[in-house]
């Protein structure tokens, strides 16, 4: 660690704004956008007049945004390394690791900075997606009076779904795996720090691409983008295509980086059975990311070709097949929902031993559960197509394979429950969120039993029942554990405590109103309300109003969290203890916040981090001595 670099007097602000940073990136991004726009104009002819509904030019949208993204990345400095290499100069190996607060606004190769960038960046788009949900519930307050025009409503629905699915795919892996996986495995960095930074900035560029779809008429397809509808849609659909392709690229790179890091950079003594379960969860998710996201990129490239080059992959009238799109999309789409769910499993299993003061029960079974879900998730995708007529004779197989997933998921439940058993459970805020996961994911899983059964699925498919089901699994499974991870780790990441009282208020309001929002939707679906409708039978108004009011209160609960975050981290700034939870995990043996190079000496592991009740806790012994129980 070079303390001299920190001690050097920093240059004035205006000087620091010149260089490769977010400001330059935005300027070059806008420039690149116009280069692409007018370049396509020159190539194809008439430019897109997006206020007219004829004679538009899809290519200009794609090239504009691609130019914008490339300009944005160059402005951040992602071209420096390859260019210097090409020209024969020695490239800089570390970027901005010592640069003070400005390192958060540019390409930084410190994995801890990237983790915090992810937390705020994803938080921002999670907030936008949540606002869309509030607008959806506003529209559904009355069956017939329209708050939004039907097209606008569909765009809001599509943006909510796409934003949440795309952004929250990295919701836990992005902030927490980037920050804590290297520390947990005793490494000083990720395997590919520059790619790590790239995944974050790609995601931010993608978020802007999706948000600006409103300038191109939005898109009517929801997050699934089914093909014949996508082929006839507004140019706003091009934003959807580019958003998901960029997210797919980010996910692929993120997964590759995680796999490479975990496979190759573990400290001495960290055998596979001593690996923290969170790292196992990240590994199983990363495998899904690497294998699933490229399918999405390929599929969306075909959609883009259909829309620009007049190919007909998905146009049935010209010999294409919409089934091809549905197949390809769900080959990505079903592993995708486990990309969302698995990190939640891992967080729960990681946190329960700390707050139950017991070792993780059935470590190998828990690992088998994570890997089993990861494997089985590849064999179930056609349960999204049970009534589509795609393959009538395979429905029994997909029914069986879908139900089989409940076995490895059950492993997670068993290991979590047995870890609590006979423990000394402390109801801290992160623990409350983990316990809520059991309840939410149980209801999500049990409602999944209806959807996996073909005769029951004929009733529930495409209705609000399935919508309630996946909100229970994804919001109840991922978002609750996302908050658990925030309350557990943010004191370690920032060095400041979060207010516990506000945290508990946030938890109880969120838990109550989450259930009050989504449980009635099972009934709404059973009573026959299809998804994504702008109107519904008058008889369902009471239930819909109840749901809407609960949803607004759920949104208020999120504001309590936001207030807690800002209040604790910006105004109160109460320093956090190095180990506020008495955890035996290695990141809590380091000071808060973690120093730039994590460890002065690489630790040597002699046990897993779950040895509660098995003797004195581990100490991080410097000078290469074992960091375990000795």
């Amino acid at each position: 660690m070079t303390d001299a670099a920190v001690a050097a007097p920093s240059p004035p602000l205006w000087r620091r704004l010149i260089g490769f940073n977010l400001l330059t990136a935005v300027i070059l991004g806008v420039g690149g956008w116009y280069v692409g726009w007018f370049g396509a104009h020159k190539v194809v002819g008439p430019s897109l007049a997006y206020f007219a509904d004829i004679d538009y030019n899809e290519l200009s949208v794609y090239l504009a945004y691609l130019g914008g993204v490339v300009g944005f990345l160059i402005g951040l400095g992602f071209a420096n390394y390859p260019v210097r290499r090409l020209l024969g100069y020695p490239p800089s190996l570390r970027e901005k690791e010592e640069a003070g607060w400005t390192r958060y606004f540019g390409l930084c190769t410190d994995h801890k900075v990237v983790g915090i960038q992810y937390l705020w960046g994803i938080g921002l788009f999670f907030f936008i997606g949540g606002l869309n949900a509030m607008l959806i519930r506003t529209e559904l307050l009355t069956p017939h009076n329209q708050v939004f025009p039907a097209g606008t409503y569909l765009t809001i629905v599509g943006m909510h779904g796409t934003m949440m699915m795309g952004m929250m795919s990295s919701g836990i892996i992005g902030p927490f795996a980037n920050y804590f996986v290297p520390i947990m495995i005793g490494a000083r960095r990720m395997a590919f720090p520059r790619i790590e930074a790239l995944t974050f900035w790609l995601l931010m560029a993608a978020g802007v691409v999706l948000t600006t779809t409103i300038f191109f008429g939005g898109f009517p397809t929801g997050w699934t983008g089914y093909a014949p509808l996508a082929t006839q849609a507004n140019p706003g659909l091009d934003n959807y295509v580019l958003f998901f392709a960029l997210v797919g690229l980010s996910m692929t790179l993120l997964g590759l980086n995680m796999i490479a890091t975990i496979l190759t950079m573990r400290a001495p003594g960290l055998t596979w059975t001593r690996l923290p379960i969170f790292v196992w969860g990240v590994l199983s998710t990363a495998v899904l990311m690497v294998l699933a996201a490229p399918v999405l990129i390929a599929t969306l490239s075909m959609v883009a070709l259909d829309r620009t080059a007049q190919t007909t992959f998905f146009v049935p009238a010209a010999g294409g097949s919409n089934y091809l799109y549905q197949n390809l999309f769900w080959v990505f789409g079903h592993p995708e929902v486990y990309i969302l769910a698995l990190p939640g499993f891992a967080i729960v299993l990681e946190l329960l031993p700390v707050f139950a003061r017991k070792p993780l029960w059935g470590y190998r079974l828990a690992v088998a559960g994570l890997l089993g879900v990861s494997l089985l998730s590849w064999f179930v995708w056609q349960h999204h197509l049970f009534v589509s007529g795609i393959n009538g004779d395979l429905r029994s197989f997909y029914m069986l394979s879908t139900e089989l997933i409940s076995i490895p998921t059950g492993f997670t439940f068993l290991c979590g429950m047995m870890t609590l058993w006979r423990g000394h459970i402390r109801f801290t805020v992160p623990m409350l969120f983990c316990l809520a996961w059991f309840f939410n994911f149980l209801l999500g899983g049990l409602s999944g039993v209806f959807l996996s059964d073909v005769p029951s699925d004929v009733t529930t498919h495409g209705s609000f029942f399935s919508m309630a089901h996946f909100h229970y699994t994804i919001m109840g499974g991922l978002v609750f554990t996302f908050f658990a991870a925030i309350y557990y780790w943010v004191p370690k990441m920032t060095g400041w405590e979060l207010n516990e009282r506000l945290g508990k208020i946030h938890f109880w309001t969120m838990f109550l109103f989450f259930n009050s929002t989504f449980a009635p939707l099972f009934a709404v679906g059973f009573l026959g309300q299809p998804r994504r409708v702008v109107t519904y039978p008058s008889g369902l108004q009471f239930l819909n109003d109840w749901v809407s009011v609960s949803a607004f209160l759920l949104g208020t609960s999120m504001l309590i969290f936001l207030f807690n975050l800002v209040w604790s981290l910006v105004f109160v700034k109460k320093p956090a203890a190095a180990n506020p939870w008495d955890s035996r995990s290695i990141e809590f043996q380091l000071p808060s916040p973690v120093p730039v190079h994590n460890f002065d000496r690489i630790p040597v592991f002699s046990s897993d981090p779950y040895g509660y009740g098995e003797g004195p806790p581990p100490t991080l012994v410097p000078a290469g001595a074992p960091a375990g129980r000795e």
Partner: protein, 298 residues
């Protein structure tokens, strides 16, 4: 505070048989709750008894509901007992629990029980599906039929943005914007689409089948007595997806013949304009009706 120096050594496992208590409480609660759910919640479960297939779905839904009740009871009992019995007292020094790391008997028991439930569900679902098709769209080559499906009354359901048209081939290709079906008969619904993907959902009949362009998606339903049912589009199909609904009727055979005769007169008046080849301004779907059987979906 670094790693807690006050952590007491692990306590001996207390001899109370907590597991037995939980199991007994669970069995008692399940034995009470499951019949109550079956008796009081069961009759409310959709889609009701409008058709044989709808009745089958209702039965499946009831079985699922009854089956998940004991699972829910287990969780309620476990967490109710565990969180109360095993929580640390406020302001108590942090105590470590007993270092239980594994118990292969519990693991095996759990795996056996969950596997048995999964296999039962898959077997039950397959049986209910193959028995009569369960009202779901099966594609151009159905594998599950109700009895007497060879003599089924054929109706083609044609989705387009944003309405369904119903075509009766046995009535000379007569078309109507209302779906009227004869009572107590086996109906074969051939669902297709002219533009994007729709999904034909006849709620009370228990029928759901996606309407794909150029694909004949067959769903069987056996109607019972006269009734009114709602038809909705269950797949996002563009701007007015939310308004793509209407109602249909199941009527006695005599009444059906009367309705058909009336509709046929109307239809014959417009037939010359409709029944032309597609390239001469006729309806395009007259040429995609019932594609050759070897045409596979997917």
């Amino acid at each position: 505070m670094a790693a807690n120096p006050n952590a007491a050594p692990a306590q001996p496992i207390d001899s109370t048989n907590h597991g037995l208590r939980v199991v007994i409480a669970w069995l008692v609660l399940s034995a009470i709750a499951t019949p109550l759910v079956a008796i009081y919640v069961g009759p409310l479960i959709p889609p009701g008894n409008g058709s044989v297939q709808g009745q089958g779905q209702t039965f499946s839904n009831q079985v699922m509901t009854s089956l998940v009740t004991p699972v829910l009871c287990l969780m309620v009992v476990f967490f109710g007992y565990g969180l109360i019995r095993f929580h640390a007292r406020r302001n108590e020094a942090i105590l470590d629990g007993p270092p239980l790391r594994n118990d292969s008997r519990v693991q095996i028991l759990w795996i056996v029980i969950t596997s048995a439930m999964v296999l039962f569900l898959a077997g039950f679902g397959t049986y209910e599906l193959l028995k009569d098709g369960a009202g779901g769209g099966q594609g151009p080559n159905p594998i599950a039929f109700p009895a007497n499906h060879q003599s089924a009354f054929q109706v083609q359901v044609i989705g387009q943005q944003w309405q369904f048209t119903y075509r009766y081939p046995s009535l000379g290709g007569m078309e109507s914007n209302q779906l009227v079906l004869p009572a107590n008969s086996v109906i074969a619904l051939h669902v297709t689409s002219l533009d994007v993907v729709h999904s034909f959902w006849a709620y009370e009949l228990g029928v759901k089948a996606d309407a794909n362009p150029g694909v004949d998606n067959v769903a069987y339903v056996e109607t019972k007595g006269p009734m009114l049912f709602h038809v909705r589009c269950a797949e996002l199909c563009g701007l007015w997806h939310g308004y793509m609904y209407n109602t249909g009727r199941v009527v006695p055979s005599a009444q059906f013949r009367g309705w058909a005769a009336q509709e046929l007169t109307i239809y014959h008046a417009i037939k010359p304009y409709v029944n032309r080849p597609a390239d001469k301004g006729g309806a395009p779907y007259s040429h995609i009706y019932l594609p050759a059987p070897e045409r596979r979906a997917g």
